[in-house]
């Protein structure tokens, strides 16, 4: 991945907000250095006010840097031409609410000077991709937040961009929507696009990002691949099937670990994630409509990782 082409680069990127008199009000970002390479999903993580959105706005040219450089496709962020290769989904879907989905995509397509036939075919395809085929004639004012986020993503992809910048892409989405969004992001990455996303939802970032930058108080605190960041080399995880947990097994394992200088911390059945459980229940309810929860019956058994539908497996780590 190191050899891959750099799509986005910041060099000592700094943004200081000032008051009317030019006095310093807040340092939103201080000397940020990072590189985003082609074909990766890059996550920006951090608490509120850490500088994630400021970084994105600086990359997009919505804000001007106080110092340092922000280069996108090797062009300064203030250069309008770079936008031809970028798709942007803002945190809230700030689209024009008096337009319907078709008109929205047509409008943004026109801004890229796409020819009418291409504009129509892309709009049609994207509307289908984001699952708004039946609602394409409704104005956006009538859309739910999730639907607006979907059409927002569609407008970000109308130009078939090389770089997609997503600000809180799963914000306002239900678990199903979140899963759909994450799948789509991975699919985009697999198609060769570069993704930069910032999110508060750490599990989303962990699920799909290749590399993450952790920001705090406007400064970069950590930058590495998710695997490297999360891997604890001083601990060992063991998973096994075809064997029941009992005292003898525990003792045997303790003996072996002691022989190698280790110590058993925990042994037990693995649990699934709430997301996986939720998705399974929704799948079942679609397969058997009308079946209800009966309080006297036992709660659903914990689901093993291998029972999760195949297409969702990749995201459960």
């Amino acid at each position: 991945m190191i050899d891959k082409e750099v799509v986005v680069e910041t060099r000592k990127l700094t943004k200081i907000y000032r008051d009317f008199w030019g006095r310093e009000k807040k340092v939103a970002l201080r000397a940020l250095n990072l590189q985003v390479r082609r074909g990766e999903i890059f996550g920006l993580l951090g608490p509120n006010g850490s500088g994630k959105t400021t970084t994105i706005k600086l990359l997009l040219g919505l804000l001007f840097p106080t110092d340092g450089d922000a280069l996108v496709f090797n062009m300064p962020s203030g250069e309008v031409r770079k936008n031809e290769r970028i798709g942007y989904l803002p945190e809230e879907s700030y689209l024009y609410r008096f337009l319907n989905a078709e008109e929205t995509l047509d409008f943004y397509g026109r801004l890229f000077n796409l020819d009418p036939a291409l504009r129509r075919s892309r709009a049609e395809k994207l509307i289908e991709t984001v699952g708004l085929k039946n609602d394409k004639k409704r104005i956006l004012k009538e859309y739910s937040k999730g639907m607006r986020q979907r059409i927002g993503l569609a407008q970000a992809l109308i130009n078939d961009p090389e770089l997609v910048i997503l600000d809180e892409p799963t914000s306002g989405l239900d678990p199903l929507g979140t899963r759909w969004m994450k799948d789509l992001i991975v699919k985009l990455r697999d198609e060769g696009k570069t993704i930069i996303m910032c999110s508060h939802r750490l599990e989303d970032v962990q699920d799909i990002c290749d590399r993450v930058a952790i920001l705090s108080e406007g400064e970069l605190r950590k930058l590495d691949s998710v695997k490297s960041l999360l891997e604890d080399v001083f601990r060992l995880e063991l998973r096994a099937t075809g064997v029941q947990l009992n005292d003898e097994l525990r003792r045997d394992l303790e003996t072996i670990l002691a022989k190698h200088g280790g110590k058993l911390e925990f042994i037990g059945h693995p649990t699934t994630t709430l997301e996986a459980l939720f998705l399974r229940i929704i799948e079942e309810s679609k397969a058997h409509p009308g079946r209800r929860y009966m309080p006297e019956k036992a709660a659903p058994a914990p689901v093993a990782a291998e029972k999760v539908p195949e297409e969702l497996k990749t995201h459960i780590k």
Binding site: K57, G78, N83, F98
Partner: protein, 689 residues
Amino acid sequence: MMLFASLYLERAPMHWAQLPAAFGEWLQNAGAAAAVAIALVCISSFAQRSAKDYNFIHIAGRTVAFWTYLLYGFFASVACYAVIVLAWIGRWMGVPGVDALLPRLNATMPSTIGDLILTIAGAIALTVALTPVLMDIVSRLSFGRIWALALLSWKEAIRGRVIWVFGAMALIFLFAHWFVPYKAEDQLRNYVRVVFWSMTPLFLVLAALLGAFSIPNDVKNNSIHTVVTKPVEPFEIVLGRFLGFGSLLTVGLFVVSSLSLLYVVRGVTDEAAQESFTARIPIYGKLHFVGTKAAQKGDSVGREWSYRSYITGPSHNTSDKFRQFAVWDFAAFPEDLANRIEEVLFEFSFDIFRLSKGDAKEEGRGIRVTFAFVDPRVFRSPDANFQSIELRELVKKMEEERSKEFEPIRARFEKAKQGRSKEEVGELTAQRRADEEKVREKYRNLYRIHQETGIEVIDYHTQQVLVPPSAFKAFLIDHDKRVTQGENALPMLRVFVSVDKTQQSQMLGVAQADFYMVPHVMPFWQNFLKGTIGMWCTHMLVLAIALAMSTYFSSVISFIATIFLYLCGMSLDYMREIAEGRLDGGGPAESAIRITKGLPVAARFDEATPMNTVIKTLDQLFSWWIGRIISMFPDVGRHDLHLYVANGFDIGWIDVLLVDNLLPLGGYLLPWAVLAYYLMKMRETANPT
């Protein structure tokens, strides 16, 4: 026929010949604004604390490559301004010969070298400011994107039900006639006023609201984030909004105007139709005077409204030798007039100032005047004063010779009518008149003079005088030999107007636009729609100002500032009077002294005391400053063309619409567009988060 329709234009529309001077003045003003703006940007960039904490780099755009040359240009412009400043200082210190380097104080004075320097400085500064804009427009701006934004504006306005505002005109159509009292002859005039006055605020407020709220709302709702992150130049947003709202207002205006036209023309009374259900295409002459104190002005009767000046006529008690004349020179007239069958119409609307006050016999009576239509080539003297004397001699001679030829015709008629029936006498009378007319025509050709005497002038009325086409045939004799250029150029027609001898002297008030030729007329409906073009100019003006303001200010501030500028524009004539020092009672400093000392306006204030010198200098500086900032305000008065329509005067495509409306509109909007370009480019679209 006596009418009430008349057109008072205190400021005649600009014509082609005035355009170069107006362009020079525009270069000075717009260039000065550009120079000040560039200087402010330079100062602010130097004042920033961090090397990149200024937006200067963002406005450089594609011009970075030759940024140095633009900077040199700016310094050259500054050097020119420095020359003017040094000349001012030199004058103040009493250095001789620097006066020529100073610009004139107001437009009524002759141009100086200082004016030329200011024009050059302005042109350079404007070039520096315009270069990045033009480069962007040529290389980057896409009509497709601008059109997309325009369509968005249409949808926004229509789906936001803004268009319903146009429906407010329905109230006027439904109820206006309840409140508009009119005499039969005023019917059309009043309805034209009502619909124009109703449409003006309706559209203006709408234009200001659309312009002031659209971009700030996009910023507030963050919708602009999804636009500027596409390959959209910031100025395209302004242009797209302008095109969208502008076209919406244009369509709205056309629809509402068409409906208003139907409303106005339904059931026009005969009297109103005669007054203004037409569009006279007047040809105005140039007015000058003979026998008055000044050639450019008649005598003053002390009226506050100085639109007209006066000539007096001789009375039985005064000498007939020294008469006063108002003289109109018509540089040209259509040559087809000579071939017409019907007579050529001239209209006039003069004022009467009676010197016989309280005379019951004179009460309500008009005064009689004489119109002499002359080819000025007949005069030996080039001086109009001598020409007036020559005219009297020529007319006397012509009448004597003519009456000699009338005598046998009349004698023949008297003899022939003896013992004839009434019908036969009628036929003979017609024959006699035709014979007399032939004689008149012969003498018109010979003397090239046509005179109408004893025409009674009634004040507050528009009256008519008809001239036979044969007179124009006479004026066109040897037309190809006429000198039309240079010092010896003569007008094609000169009309001498004088007051006839009366029992007591009476005075006749005239202004240049009071007397005109009406060779042709156009249909009323065309003129009505042309009148709305003036209104359209105002809408575009307000929309553009509001949009330019909204690129920097919030929506409410932009709206208020736009309305403020518009209101200032309404009092532009008054500000011009201040700038040109034409106000009675002096400027603010002199007025303050007059008020504190209790000095009336007519009291002298020209003693050369040190105090008075300081006061006069302060007022001069104030006038100069007003003269500089006056160009910031829109000249909304020039776009108000309803008087033309209401009184049935054609709005000329070239002189009124193009030269006096559309070109000044473009000249005024260009600096605003440049300002909007830079403000959009320099602003951060996102709010701090």
